[in-house]
Symmetry: C2
Subunit: 85 residues, 2 copies
């Protein structure tokens, strides 16, 4: 079972990395770029038998807990979890 996690900065939080990308794109001649935001994308392969949880709902809860504890800084970041079974 695979979990796909997106960690993105909350709206309003300054994103210097995104700004740098936007400026670099402009310098390369790409016009019409209004804004760029960079986040993280994490793929987690879960063993199906892990913790005896067999269903997507339980896996989603477990990965959300991973986000809360490690993957995201919830003060400034949002996260989104999707489960591919």
């Amino acid at each position: 079972m695979r979990a796909r996690v997106h960690v993105t900065l909350k709206p309003g939080v300054l994103d210097p990395q995104g700004k740098a990308i936007a400026h670099a794109l402009e310098a390369l001649g790409f016009d019409g770029v209004a804004d760029v935001r960079q986040g993280k994308y994490i793929e987690i392969d879960l063993e199906d038998g892990g913790s005896g949880e067999g269903n997507a709902g339980a896996a989603e809860a477990r990965v959300s807990e991973m986000c809360e504890k490690l993957l995201a800084n919830t003060v400034i970041e949002n996260y989104r979890v999707e489960i591919d079974s």
Copy 2:
């Protein structure tokens, strides 16, 4: 118009950042994690009138070019572009 870009390491390319996450999860007591891969997630807001291109197909081509030239290292990374109109 918003483009969402995923940049991921190609299969077989070593991912020390993903390995570090996997070890950290294990240290926190999350078992059943077989593998972790970390990539980048980039949201690009495009001005609708940019370069006179009004349709999603043209925007996708333009963002793919951005990936080739700046956002991804195509030697070791794959990218995927999605357009929300």
